[in-house]
């Protein structure tokens, strides 16, 4: 088992970090490079940068933002948001992304996952799935695209399986029902996807506490992504790792003092 990865997410629009509730009502949360660098110092295992406005407004993901974050960051950087296909992905990987998270483009043309994995390796290719419960309280999930504004009738679990078969090396699994609500991850969704794939799963949408993260781990998450709780300063990454270690979850802690870097 690897340590559970703690991943702060930077939702970026026009070069600024923003965060809203269910992808709406975005508020300014600072400079992406400064944020990313601060999170690395706190012990972030990785950083995800999502251009939340790119798809609806048909803008390319902003390469200058990626370059400025890369300059500051020496942990892995995943970039998503409006990646249209091979050329976009190649440009992002060339500018400083270590992984690209593909969403709409893969639904439109699933073969793009295979071509990306063949060219760059599966470890660079993340399938980003935004899932919504078909009806409140059910455990039936459909895929949502265009940053949550446009539904598509596609079963989320089946899509996860297909995307991995086609070459995705990781799943970024976001519950739209939970996104920004601070009510915890959608555990049944995680559990269902875990049952059908063997690649790492990053849980996303709804985290407000280490307890939420521990619950995601218990349901098959290899990494937990969160935005609001880190941006608003309620928790540092270090606090969260301490709390998870107290719950006997394996996390990476200060590399320079190797004697106390893990529990178990």
């Amino acid at each position: 088992m690897l340590p559970i990865r703690i991943i702060p997410c930077l939702d970026v629009r026009d070069g600024r970090v923003v965060k809203g509730i269910r992808f709406k009502g975005l508020a300014d949360q600072g400079d992406p490079a400064e944020r990313a660098s601060a999170y690395e110092r706190q012990g972030a295992d990785e950083v995800v940068l999502l251009d939340v406005s790119a798809t609806p407004e048909r803008r390319g993901t902003r390469l200058d933002t990626v370059a400025s974050v890369r300059d500051q960051l020496s942990v892995p950087l995943t970039v998503g948001g409006g990646i249209g296909g091979m050329e976009d992905a190649a440009a992002l990987l060339g500018t400083g992304a270590d992984k690209v998270a593909i969403n709409t483009a893969a639904l439109d043309n699933p073969d793009v996952l295979t071509r990306l994995a063949d060219r760059f390796g599966a470890q660079c290719i993340v399938i980003s799935i935004d899932a919504l419960a078909v009806a409140k309280g059910t455990h039936d999930y459909e895929v949502v695209v265009r940053s949550g504004t446009h539904h598509i009738a596609r079963n989320a679990i089946a899509w996860a399986q297909e995307a991995v078969d086609r070459g995705a090396g990781e799943i970024l699994l976001t519950s739209i029902d939970r996104d920004g609500t601070r009510s915890g991850y959608e555990l049944a969704l995680l559990h269902a996807v875990r049952a059908v794939v063997s690649v790492p799963i990053v849980a996303s949408g709804g985290a407000d506490s280490p307890d939420h993260m521990a619950a995601a781990v218990a349901n098959g998450a290899d990494a937990v992504l969160a935005a609001s709780i880190f941006h608003q300063g309620n928790h540092t990454v270090a606090d969260v790792k301490q709390a998870l270690a107290d719950r006997h979850i394996f996390v990476r802690r200060d590399n320079r003092s190797n004697s106390e870097d893990s529990v178990r």
Binding site: M1, L2, P3, R5, E40, D45, A67, R70, D71, S74, V75, P76, L77, A90, L93, G94, T95, G96, A97, D98, K99, D118, R119, F120, G121, A122, Q123, C124, G169, E170, S198, V199, P200, D222, A223, R252, N255, R256, N258, D261, S262
Partner: protein
């Protein structure tokens, strides 16, 4: 920190992501350039052989550009060289990822796939894992390093000092021979732990 303006050359193995390696070295004060010529590979003070993507494709690029002999000579001669991730596997003879394609063959060995039928094991290995150097290692310390790989070497070649790691069995996280270092993990993505490795290597 290392000397300002120390020169490092990074081999362009493919269209793969070089930005993390380049910015990581620049943050340490290095003057970094990329190359696809045998002459620069021979002459570089410090050379990085990165690698992302498939074994066969990377070998093919090196062969097409006529870089194989230059790399072999340089590494056999012990000039400071850092081979990262797939770059480390390229030093070996073969890989199950691309059967029939010869690597540089500088060390004996074959890269094998991580067994993914083990409970709790995901493939690719994606994340931080604890590495443990043997006593004779001079560059890689103990600590957590960032990995993103589906294949790995499991046997340390003769004459090299191993750094071990465990993921569905023991594998070679890194190997050192003087100023030549192969790292299966990514020092450029391993935060302060990785900076320590890059700094020590730049001092060789």
């Amino acid at each position: 920190m290392t000397d300002r303006g120390q020169s490092v050359v990074v081999v362009k193995t493919s269209t793969a992501n070089l930005a993390s390696v380049l910015t990581g070295l620049r943050r340490l004060g290095c003057a970094v350039q990329t190359t696809d010529t045998a002459q620069q590979i021979q002459n570089a003070d410090h050379l990085v052989l990165p690698g992302v993507g498939a074994f066969g494709a990377a070998c093919d690029v090196l062969r097409r550009h006529g870089l194989i002999e230059a790399l072999r000579e340089r590494i056999a001669g012990g000039k400071p060289t850092l081979a990262i991730c797939l770059g480390m596997q390229l030093l070996a003879e073969t890989s199950d990822e691309s059967p029939g394609v010869p690597g540089l063959g500088l060390v004996t060995g074959n890269a094998t796939r991580i067994p993914d039928h083990t409970p709790g094991i995901r493939v690719p290995q994606m994340g931080w894992n604890r590495v443990l150097p043997t006593d004779e290692c001079r560059i890689v310390p103990a600590g957590f390093a960032y990995f993103a790989n589906s294949y790995r070497l499991t046997i340390c070649p003769d004459g090299w000092s191993p750094v071990w790691c465990d993921y569905a069995g023991r594998f070679l996280a890194a190997m050192e021979k003087g100023a030549v270092v192969g790292c299966q993990f990514h020092p450029e993505l391993s935060s302060t732990f990785g900076k320590q490795i890059l700094t020590r290597w730049l001092e060789t």
